[in-house]
């Protein structure tokens, strides 16, 4: 029975500081500490440990913040320089796709003409046309996939 009481007190010592305890538990705990020197000592040791932990001081390396700011400036500059390149890539991709659609009828005419001259089967011509038309779309898809992969890699850092 006594062991149970001390075990409960031990648990409350930590619980009070980690999760908090109810008023009823607090009253019981306070009464027990008045009667039990061992538990009171354990509570005091825990209090001391936390108090000293809170009071501990760590010295910062000199110029720590300045070095961080300097590196940030360099990185920000790099990012600013890279941003237009990425935008150009997307624009090229969009233009390529739009041109593919706009020129499709003319390209098909040209392929038909080649087919007439060479006698290639219609299936081959259609496949060639399809491939030609799909290339910009595939290129765009590849960029989208790569961008998604990049963002997925970043997702781990988002925290929530």
């Amino acid at each position: 029975m006594n062991e149970n009481i001390h075990a409960r007190a031990e648990k409350l010592i930590a619980q009070e500081r980690i999760e908090g305890i109810s008023q009823a538990e607090r009253d019981w705990f306070a009464a027990h500490l008045r009667e039990c020197a061992a538990c009171a000592q354990a509570a005091q040791q825990t209090n001391d440990a936390i108090r000293v932990l809170r009071a501990m001081h760590v010295s910062l390396p000199r110029g720590l913040a300045e070095r961080a700011r300097f590196r940030l400036q360099l990185r920000a500059q790099e990012m600013r320089e890279r941003e237009p390149q990425r935008r150009v890539l997307w624009i090229m991709c969009a233009v390529s796709w739009a041109l593919g659609i706009a020129t499709a009828p003319y390209v098909w005419q040209a392929i038909e003409w080649i087919g007439e001259r060479t006698g290639a089967p219609r299936l081959v011509l259609e496949f060639g046309f399809g491939l030609w038309w799909a290339i910009p779309a595939l290129f765009a898809a590849a960029i989208v996939v790569l961008e998604n992969v990049r963002q997925a890699n970043e997702r781990d850092w988002s925290g929530r």
Partner: protein, 187 residues
């Protein structure tokens, strides 16, 4: 507070240099202290400190302002340390993530006093320093987040990307280990 966080999130999205300067100034002590306890090395802590702010710049758009900035900051720092640890393959990552199922990770070499120990004992001659240095890094981490950084249990769970139950369990064990280590020091 929520409005402040939203404004902070917008500033980070814009990569506002003044805001970043202010954040570095405001959080430098807490971030460095956290990294020092995590890595037990001043040099590594400083490297991770620089790298953490680079990540803040690069991925500031991911901070949505729903949670405290420091939780997000500590999480970035922690992920960097874990990535570094993974790349070095010095210890099992699983042990860091779930110490109850393996040997908890200690970053400092076991046979020599760690830089953390040296630095701290040089600064304050109090037994708790060496006691803290002796307890496993995963427990030390939650103790620091709870009692030095004053983060709530859910915020710590966010930093660790661990369930609340794991955070509580580590805190209970950590507190017990700290008290035990202090008693050992006193003896």
């Amino acid at each position: 507070m929520a409005d402040d966080n939203k404004a902070l999130a917008q500033g980070l999205k814009r990569r506002d240099p003044d805001l970043l300067d202010q954040l570095i100034e405001q959080y430098q002590y807490r971030l460095f202290r956290y990294l020092l306890y995590l890595t037990s090395s001043r040099e590594r802590a400083e490297d991770f400190f620089q790298e953490t702010w680079i990540r803040v710049l690069e991925r500031g758009h991911q901070y949505d302002g729903k949670y405290k900035f420091e939780s997000w900051l500590f999480r970035i720092a922690r992920n960097l340390v874990i990535d570094w640890q993974r790349s070095k393959k010095m210890q099992s990552l699983d042990a860091l993530l779930d110490p109850e199922e393996g040997t908890p990770v200690e970053f400092a070499a076991e046979n020599q006093p760690s830089p953390l120990h040296q630095v701290l004992t040089a600064e304050e001659k109090i037994g708790v320093h060496s006691s803290l240095d002796r307890i496993p890094a995963v427990y030390r981490e939650v103790l620091v987040l709870r009692f030095q950084e004053e983060l709530g249990l859910e915020e710590i769970a966010g930093v660790l990307a661990a369930p609340l139950s794991t955070v509580k369990s580590r805190l209970y064990r950590g507190l017990e280990a700290l008290r035990g280590a202090m008693q050992g020091s006193a003896a």
